[in-house]
């Protein structure tokens, strides 16, 4: 296998060695944002002697791929899976096969067993053999009856030799998976803190007010040019963001899966540079009292809170009964009462429901979603962007 590029990368002629070329395509297919430069950097690294030899090992190629192209755990898992599934280079394959077959023959001869079956060709594994309950027993162990299991044992062991460049045979663990697929399980926030913060920062209503503390350089120069003599520098008020938001967040048990997300939203608002952002909590429906924290301990009158935030856009994050999946008439009436009060004082009103939209039907969420005075959106990056645009007053 040619692991060295034979011409400078900038001329574009030589490709990456096969394992890396395939991996590059695999990463692109999984949406990893790699570019031409990343590809060229792979070539330049190999030209510079990555690994210190003319033929880097699989481990070295994997380390190079992780260094150049991996920026999170999901991508690292993709790279590891790729190398795990990669067939072995031919010399290693032959050596590994020969070693295993020799061992099996030696043990079988020693046990004076009947003539053995030859190991099947490596490129045609028999997966059914892996399910054989005798496959885990050592060949020749105890009696001659175990000898027919030997080929299966060889395949399993060769499967485990992949890390050192062995065969890409299915492992015992892999065959236990019902749908033949492995999973990448890494906890993610619905939207990361940074993305939420950036969303809030898009919302600017710049106004100048307050004491004149900032030097007005263009104004000073203009006055000087117009009047022709040196005067005192002009000062002006600082620019500040006048955008205001009141967030009502549901802290009821049905919202438990999203409490972490709500905490992130609260944290992002602190960094979001809005003119004023207030978070109030409620349980199930914003009834007469709103709470100052998710613990629902200290409260204030809902109408006082709405009045104190007159002019602020209103964002509600709640499942609106769709997590339970039932329509509670009393709850629906309370929700309608709240919407009436909230919509009377403001026009920018958005409800984000983290439950999938398919679950809204037949619950109070469907009633809210059908209300023309507000917009109900599911939770997602695009929907949060839309929510912020609506809160900004963009239709």
């Amino acid at each position: 296998m040619n692991t060295r590029a034979s011409a400078p990368a900038q001329r574009g002629a030589p490709p990456l060695p096969l394992p890396l070329r395939g991996l590059f395509r695999e990463l692109l297919a999984h949406g990893v944002p790699l570019g031409v430069r990343d590809y060229l950097d792979g070539l330049r690294a190999l030209e510079a002697g990555w690994g210190g030899t003319a033929h880097p090992t699989r481990d070295e190629l994997q380390a190079l791929a992780e260094t150049l192209w991996v920026r999170n755990e999901d991508e690292r898992a993709l790279v590891r899976r790729w190398f795990l599934r990669l067939p072995a280079p031919a010399p290693l394959l032959v050596t590994a096969l020969q070693r295993r077959v020799d061992a099996i023959e030696g043990v079988a001869r020693h046990a004076a067993a009947p003539p053995q079956q030859a190991a099947p060709p490596a490129d045609r594994p028999d997966p059914t053999a892996l399910h054989d309950p005798g496959a885990g027993a050592l060949p020749g162990e105890g009696s001659a009856a175990t000898a027919p299991d030997a080929p299966a044992r060889a395949r399993i062991e060769l499967g485990s030799a992949r890390e050192a460049g062995g065969l890409a045979l299915p492992s015992v663990a892999a065959t236990n998976l019902a749908i033949g697929e492995d999973y990448l399980l890494h906890p993610h926030a619905a939207l990361p803190l940074r993305q939420l913060t950036v969303l809030w920062r898009r919302w600017r209503r710049a106004v100048r007010d307050g004491p004149r503390l900032e030097l007005d350089l263009p104004g000073t120069l203009r006055v000087r040019c117009e009047q022709g003599f040196v005067g005192a520098p002009l000062m002006r008020a600082r620019r500040r963001n006048a955008a205001q938001l009141l967030l009502l967040a549901d802290a009821s048990p049905s919202m438990l899966p999203w409490q972490g997300f709500l905490a992130l939203v609260q944290e992002s608002l602190e960094q979001g540079r809005l003119g004023r952002a207030t978070v109030r909590w409620f349980s199930n429906v914003p009834r007469q009292r709103l709470y100052l924290s998710a613990a629902l301990d200290e409260s204030e009158a809902r109408d006082d809170s709405l009045a104190a935030h007159e002019g602020a856009a209103l964002l509600v994050i709640s499942d609106a009964g769709s997590a339970r999946g039932l329509l509670n008439r009393r709850r629906a009436a309370q929700t309608a009462e709240f919407l009436g009060v909230a919509a009377a004082a403001r026009t920018r009103l958005v409800w984000v429901n983290p439950m999938p939209q398919a679950r809204w039907a037949g619950t109070s969420a469907a009633l809210i979603g059908a209300d023309p005075r507000l917009t109900m959106l599911p939770l997602g990056a695009a929907e949060m962007l839309r929510a912020v645009d609506l809160l900004r007053g963009l239709k």
Binding site: D38, D41, R44, A48, T67, R71, L215, R224, P233
Partner: protein, 317 residues
């Protein structure tokens, strides 16, 4: 499209030549790759594990001293432009009111001062620029640096398209880049991960995570080199015992879920304190930390409380 960087003029970083820093083979390899590819190196790791010291060790080993090693610490108010240049508008306004200086005000170049990264790019000679604690800055900061770190080129908005005599004399232009045949500086960026960095920024950098070394021999070597830096020394028995006790303390910190486990900088400080206190090696144990030991090793009151509450064998001060 970015232009390909010129072949690197930098020597190979061995990771063994620094007087006070010990690095692993993997880190050494990634450092060399970043230097070769002309990509910034982003270094992350727990506080006190030697992120800043890695940059200093690279500069030391590659002979980048004086003006060739620029360190700039990012603050919460820092802006990307602060690393490139500063425009002194107030001085210009002041000069415009002074009849003797009025002529000077016509050339903006008098009021432009290049800053560490801008200077290193413009000089085009081998240099290392350390941008320390980038996560302290506002979240827009890394994005604003993206283009600069991509092309090693930046614009001075205040200068006209055709610079005046003063600008030419000072080597300033509207678009600043390395002179023909010049080289890119090595850029090392450290982060404590207080803020998440944007994805495109991460893609521009090569990434090193400095893990705490759990090899006692490597830790002993780190202690030995650092004591030498302070012109101090400790007996081999004391260092060995301190390292063993320190590893036990760190393991216990993990079990107790402490916020800030002591790292290499605390280990070095601790051994210095043990030497200063003339402690015998036999009396150094994780089970019997004195008040001084705890003061050196733990930085958070909650951790001190947890250690005491767990009855982790603290001896009276």
């Amino acid at each position: 499209m970015s232009t390909a960087p010129a072949p690197t003029p930098y020597a190979r970083f061995q990771g063994t030549q620094s007087k006070s820093y010990v690095t692993s083979a993997e880190v050494t390899r990634i450092v060399n790759l970043a230097v070769h590819l002309g990509r910034p190196l982003l270094v992350e790791g727990e506080a006190g594990c030697g992120k800043t010291r890695l940059a200093e060790a690279i500069a030391e080993e590659l002979g980048l001293k004086g003006e060739a090693f620029v360190s700039t610490t990012v603050k919460s108010t820092s802006q990307a432009r602060d690393l490139l240049y500063r425009y002194d508008a107030l001085r210009r306004l002041q000069d415009s009111q002074d009849a003797t200086q009025r002529e000077r005000t016509e050339d903006m170049a008098h009021y432009i001062e290049l800053q560490p990264l801008g200077r290193a790019i413009a000089r085009g000679v081998p240099a290392l620029v350390l941008i320390d604690e980038i996560d302290k800055a506002d979240i827009d900061f890394p994005n604003d640096l993206l283009d600069v770190l991509d092309r090693f080129q930046f614009e001075i908005d205040e200068l006209p398209e055709k610079p005046g005599a003063q600008a030419r004399a000072r080597g300033l232009a509207r678009v600043m880049s390395a002179p023909r045949g010049g080289v890119r500086p090595i850029v090392v960026i450290t982060s404590n991960r207080e803020k998440q960095l944007p994805e495109p920024f991460l893609r521009r950098c090569l990434y090193v995570k400095l893990a705490f070394p759990d090899d006692p021999r490597m830790l002993a070597e780190i202690v030995r080199k650092n004591l030498k830096r302070f012109k101090e020394s400790a007996g081999a028995d004391l260092v060995r015992q301190a390292v063993a006790a320190f590893l036990a303390v760190r393991a216990r910190c993990g079990q107790l879920g402490m916020q800030k486990a002591p790292a290499t900088s605390e280990l070095v400080d601790w051994v210095r304190a043990l030497v200063w206190d003339q402690r015998a090696p036999a009396g150094v144990h994780a089970e019997g930390l004195t008040g001084t030991d705890r003061a050196v090793l733990f930085k958070v009151q909650r951790d001190l409380d947890r250690w005491a509450a767990a009855g982790s064998g603290s001896a009276p001060a």
